[in-house]
Symmetry: C2
C-alpha cells in the first residue's frame, strides 16, 4: 500500500452522524477525510478488495461453527446516486456466496397488506452473511412522509418500530451500517441526462424520476428527520457525499472494513484431531 493515498481520519468518525448534524451543511461534492484524487481512490479501492474479501470469509467461517455475527448494510439515496455502483464495485469483491443482497421495490399488494416490517424481516441476513438492503424499511418514512401517504402519528410509530426492529437485529448479532449516499440536485440532473444519451443506460431511465425531483427539498427534510429519529450508537447513520462516485465507493468500503474489523473475527478453531485426519487422508 506504499504510495497509495489513504484516509487521514477514519470515515466512520467523520461520516457518522453526530448531535446537531445538518444535511444542508454537507457538500455532496466533498471528499471528507481523503486528500487523494480519483485515480488514487480507484487504486485504493482495488488494493483493499482482498482485505475485505478475507474478512468476509472469516465472518462466514465463524458462522459454520456456531457464530451468529453478521453485517447489514442499509443503502438509501435519491435516484442515480450510485447504490448500484456500490453493490457492483464494493460488494463485488466479496464471495457472492457470503453476500445476501435484497433490492426493495415498491411493495406488492400482498406486502402492503401487512405491517411495513413484514417483508423486511424475511430478508434480514443469515448468520455469517454480509446483507445489503438496496432501499429498505426507511422508504416507509421517506417517500411516505414526502407524499403524505402516512399521517404524522403513524410516521412517529414507524420511527419507534424501526428502532425496536434494529435493536432486535443488533441483539441477534447483526452489526447494522446505515448509509445515505448524498448527491446534489444538479448532479442528479447531469446523471439523468447521461442516461438519456447512452443506449446502454437508457433502460435505467424512468420518467417517474423527474416527478420525484420536484420534491427534492421535502426528501432532504424527510432524510434529516429519519436521521434525527433513528441514528443511534448501535445503528448509526452515515451520510456519504456521492457526487464523486469514486469517493462514495472507497468511503463505503472503509465503513464495511471497520464494521468487519470491529467484530474481532478469528478463523474457527476446529476440534478435529488434525494429525489423525491427515493420516486418514493419506491412507484414503
Amino acid at each position: 500500500m506504499a504510495g497509495v493515498a489513504t484516509f487521514d481520519k477514519h470515515p466512520s468518525d467523520i461520516l457518522k452522524i453526530g448531535k446537531g448534524f445538518s444535511l444542508k451543511d454537507l457538500d455532496p461534492g466533498s471528499t471528507p477525510g481523503y486528500a487523494g484524487d480519483k485515480a488514487d481512490g480507484e487504486t485504493l479501492l482495488a488494493e483493499l478488495d482482498d482485505k475485505l474479501s478475507r474478512l468476509q470469509e472469516k465472518l462466514f467461517a465463524e458462522s459454520r461453527f456456531g457464530g451468529t455475527k453478521r453485517i447489514l448494510l442499509v443503502l438509501q439515496a435519491m435516484d442515480t446516486a450510485g447504490k448500484g455502483g456500490i453493490v457492483t464495485h464494493v460488494m463485488g469483491a466479496m464471495n457472492p456466496d457470503g453476500v445476501q443482497l435484497k433490492s426493495f421495490k415498491a411493495p406488492t399488494p400482498e406486502e402492503k397488506s401487512y405491517d411495513f416490517l413484514w417483508r423486511i424481516e424475511k430478508e434480514v441476513p443469515a448468520a455469517g452473511m454480509v446483507g445489503v438492503f438496496d432501499r429498505s424499511h426507511y422508504e416507509d418514512v421517506l417517500i411516505h412522509r414526502v407524499h403524505r401517504w402516512a399521517k404524522p402519528e403513524e410516521l412517529e410509530r414507524r420511527y419507534r418500530a424501526i428502532n425496536e426492529f434494529e435493536a432486535r437485529q443488533t441483539a441477534a448479532g447483526t452489526k447494522i451500517v446505515k448509509v445515505m449516499l448524498h448527491i446534489s440536485r444538479d448532479e442528479q440532473k447531469e446523471r439523468l441526462l447521461a442516461r438519456l444519451d447512452d443506449p446502454a443506460k437508457l433502460w435505467k431511465y424512468s420518467s417517474n424520476d423527474i416527478k420525484e425531483r420536484a420534491f427534492w427539498a421535502d426528501y432532504m427534510d424527510a432524510y434529516q428527520k429519519a436521521f434525527d429519529k433513528t441514528s443511534s450508537e448501535l445503528a448509526p447513520w452515515h451520510v456519504v457525499p456521492a457526487n464523486r462516485k469514486w469517493y462514495a465507493r472507497i468511503a463505503v468500503q472503509q465503513l464495511l472494513l471497520q464494521a468487519l474489523e470491529g467484530l474481532k473475527l478469528e478463523w474457527p478453531v476446529s476440534d478435529l484431531d488434525v494429525e489423525m485426519e491427515r493420516e486418514l487422508v493419506e491412507r484414503s
Copy 2:
C-alpha cells in the same frame, strides 16, 4: 486482447458431451483447447470480466422490458473440485444484483417430505438473472445412486423427471448450462491435506469427505450414468477438467460467454420520447 492466449477451439464444442462420451477417458489434468499456461489463463480471465459483466447487464436490462431470457449454470463436482472458486472468480465479475446463487445442502426434513424437485423449483432463476446452482437436483441421482438411497426404478423415474423439468425451464426462456468439474482422486487428496495444513482453510474440512472418497469409482459411474440419461441438445452436460483451477475458471467463463452470446441480447429499445424527456429533465 493482443498477446493473450485464447482458446483455439471453442470450449463448448470440446467440453460438451457427445455420443459415446466416457468420463474415464478424460484427463482431469488436461487443458482442452487451450495452449496457454497458468499466467496466460489468469490474464485471459481478468480481461474477459468486463465482457461477461456487460452481457449480463444486457440480459438484466431486457427483463425490465418484458424479456424472459435467463441463464442457469448447474455446478456439480466431487468435494474440493473448486465450485466455490468458480463462484468467486467467474461469477464474481458480474453485478451481484443480476446473479441468483443457490447452494443446495443436504435436504432438511421438510424438503425431504416433498418430491425431490420441490426445493429446486423454488430456486429457478427469475427472468433476466444468471442463476447458479452449487450442487442441484443431480444430487438425487448421484449420492442417492452411490449409497443406494433410491431403488433403480426410482432413479429411472428421477432421470425422466429431471429431463421434463429442464425442458420446462428451457421453454420458459432459460438457457441451462450444466458443468461437472472433474478432478482426480489424487488431486483431491492433495487439496484435503492442504486444508488441514492451513488455519484459513481448516474450517472447510469435513471428516465426512474421507468417507465419500471411498466411493470414488461409484461416483464416477453415477456421473457417467447421469450424463448418459440427461445430456440433451437443449441442456447439455460439459465436463471441465479441474485439476488446474485456472483452467476450470476460464473454461466455465467461456461457457457462460457463449451461452449469453447465444441469447442475441440487445439493449432494450425504449418507447420514451427521449427528446421530450431531455427537455423535461433540463427544466426540472
